[in-house]
């Protein structure tokens, strides 16, 4: 009897805890089926073939005909990249504020929070890939185009510091429209902050793999995304500093086909390898194994 009451007490404590924080713990590792918005992916945007959602999910959100990689949510990325039940989310409880008192910014963030069930556009934590421990960070382009504001910058830096503290390799999947303009100069400074943190990681001899996914542009490309020891990219991912529209306006002519795509960057020597989503897990595992500490001693 005594034990029962104690357990109840803990339960009540936990409930009260949740009420106070207003935060419900997300059951990250339990998510099996990716939540695809209904009717959105019924047609492949590249080849126009009609696809059933079941087919898509089974195929890791890649078109089975033309191998077009669709944008995916951070939760899905975790479930298809790391070992099941190993992801432990870190860095919870960040609250986005409105430093420049921009009109409608708070409501916008709240909307995205409700829609995506995420705190911000970046999630990170401890994970294992085929039992190789690492720190994984994922940007979610469904949250305000994955733009980098103060919170995203801080969380990216925290994930780097976590990898430093635990002496683990770091993998970051980037997907971002750039710096978040509603936070103005603070967003810009996140570029300096994250790059500086990567430098610390570099000095400690830890591995940083940056995986560029569609789309990675602006301030994220110009900071940690380009600083990986190994830079991978998904096929046909748009990666660049300036967006295609801005370039078109500047040079006043239309861009060549395939410009700023992953294959283009591979040709220009900006990235190491274009990796299909189906092979991502194996490639990352291989890289982690190759960079294991003490492998050559």
């Amino acid at each position: 009897m005594k034990r029962d009451t104690l357990q109840n007490a803990f339960k009540r404590k936990k409930q009260f805890h949740n009420q106070l924080s207003g935060y419900k713990k997300k059951p990250m590792h339990q998510v099996k089926a990716p939540d695809v918005p209904e009717g959105l992916y019924d047609k492949c945007s590249a080849c126009g073939k009609t696809l059933s959602q079941k087919e898509m999910i089974a195929n890791k959100l890649v078109c089975p005909y033309c191998h077009n990689h669709f944008r995916i949510r951070a939760i899905d990325r975790i479930s298809m990249t790391v070992d099941p039940h190993t992801f432990v989310e870190k860095g919870l409880g960040y609250i986005t504020l409105n430093p420049l008192f921009q009109e409608g910014y708070e409501e916008k963030v709240q909307n995205y929070k409700d829609k995506t069930k995420m705190d911000e556009a970046y999630v990170y934590g401890y994970a294992e890939i085929h039992s190789e421990p690492c720190v994984v960070g994922i940007m979610d382009s469904y949250f305000m185009m994955g733009s980098m504001g103060s919170v995203v910058g801080e969380k990216v830096t925290k994930s780097i510091e976590y990898a430093l503290y635990k002496k683990l390799p770091l993998i970051i999947f980037t997907a971002s429209g750039g710096a978040r303009m509603q936070e103005g100069i603070y967003s810009l400074m996140q570029m300096a902050k994250t790059s500086g943190a990567i430098r610390k990681l570099h000095r400690q001899g830890l591995l940083f793999i940056s995986v560029l996914t569609h789309p990675t542009t602006g301030g994220v490309t110009a900071s940690f995304a380009s600083l990986g020891d190994v830079i991978l990219a998904e096929p046909k991912a748009l990666v660049g500093f300036a967006g295609p529209r801005v370039i078109e306006q500047t040079i006043k002519q239309s861009l060549p086909e395939g410009f700023q795509r992953a294959e283009f960057l591979l040709e220009k020597g900006m990235i190491d390898k274009v990796v299909h989503r189906h092979e991502m897990r194996e490639t990352l595992h291989l890289l982690l194994r190759m960079h294991k500490r003490g492998a050559y001693a």
């Binding site: 009260f16 710096a179 100069i185 603070y186 810009l188 570029m191 490309t221 900071s223």
Partner: protein, 318 residues
């Protein structure tokens, strides 16, 4: 009425002054000019400051280098691809102290502007800046950077040669540089293109310069789908020196004469020289490690957010 219209009015008064030869009338007109300057040109809106930052007569990085430093040797090229004219860099002397100076250069005439690409650097420009900074660290020279760019150049070649990577590498290396970096924004500080040479231990701004994540035109066209609302955007974006000092992103403001730096450049040169000298004295005492740590801590702590503190709850829940 914005600052450019006011300037035209002032110009008319000054033309009148030259036509007159009666002493009393000259005195009277001089008084009106002075009164007009103080009354309507001393307090500026954000949009006025944007216009002044882009003013064609505004002193450029080259002017500052010529007038502040005693000797200057320009160094060219990134040793990889080309020499970017949009970035001017080299070694200068100030009171017999060698200093590496790197600046973003705008032109005054159209011809110059085309040669300097309107102050918009390509990746090779940033790589040149990086080369000069590493050189400065090797020979233990402090670095002064003068920032004046609308942004990094968005073009085909620039993208193909890795504009993003060039900026990222600059930030990466600058965070670990053992010599002090003093960054001064002298005109427009546009986005990553400005930050790529502006990650200083100390960041100063001229009074009528701007520093922002994107241009007010870009902001208006993205948020309101209307680039002509740039004037409204400039008020909202907090891009002037006074706003940024309040946000604690910059360390100080270098004052300009009424009407902008181009009215009396020598005053600005003098005060900028004093600022640089003061900082050189300050950093002279510090070791490489201290300088690095100070810079890293400065940028590590920038950000505006809240974190829910779970630890505090333990006292509340019984």
């Amino acid at each position: 009425m914005d600052i450019l219209q006011k300037e035209k009015k002032l110009q008319k008064l000054e033309e009148e002054l030259q036509r007159l030869d009666d002493e009393k009338a000259i005195e009277a007109i001089k008084n009106t000019i002075q009164a007009y300057k103080i009354k309507s040109m001393a307090s500026l809106t954000s949009w006025d400051r944007v216009l002044l930052a882009r003013h064609p007569k505004r002193p450029t990085a080259k002017d500052y280098i010529e007038h502040i430093f005693d000797d200057f040797i320009e160094l060219h090229g990134d040793r990889n691809f080309a020499d970017d004219q949009a970035i001017i860099g080299g070694i200068a002397m100030l009171n017999n102290i060698p200093i590496t100076v790197i600046g973003q250069r705008k032109g005054k005439t159209t011809k110059e502007n085309i040669a300097y690409n309107f102050g918009m650097p390509h990746p090779e420009g940033y790589r040149k800046a990086m080369r000069l900074m590493r050189q400065a660290e090797k020979f233990n020279r402090p670095i002064v950077t003068l920032i004046d760019t609308p942004g990094a150049y968005p073009g085909l070649g620039a993208e193909a040669r890795g504009q993003g990577e060039a900026i990222a590498k600059n930030l990466f290396e600058m965070s670990d540089l053992g010599v002090p970096i003093i960054a001064i924004i002298i005109g427009e500080g546009g986005s990553g293109g400005a930050l790529a040479i502006g990650m200083g231990n100390r960041v100063y701004m001229l009074e009528n310069s701007i520093y922002s994540i994107l241009s007010p035109e870009g902001y208006a066209s993205i948020l309101w789908k209307d680039a002509s609302k740039a004037k409204v955007a400039s008020e909202v974006m907090k891009l002037t020196s006074y706003d940024l000092e309040e946000l604690e992103v910059i360390d100080g403001i270098i004052k300009e004469p009424i009407g902008g730096a181009h009215y009396e450049p020598s005053l600005v040169y003098e005060s900028m020289r004093m600022v640089i000298e003061r900082n050189l004295r300050h950093y002279h005492q510090m070791s490489h490690y201290e300088v690095k740590t100070e810079r890293y801590a400065k940028y590590r702590n920038i950000g505006f957010f809240q974190r829910f503190n779970y630890d505090n709850l333990k006292g509340v829940v019984k």
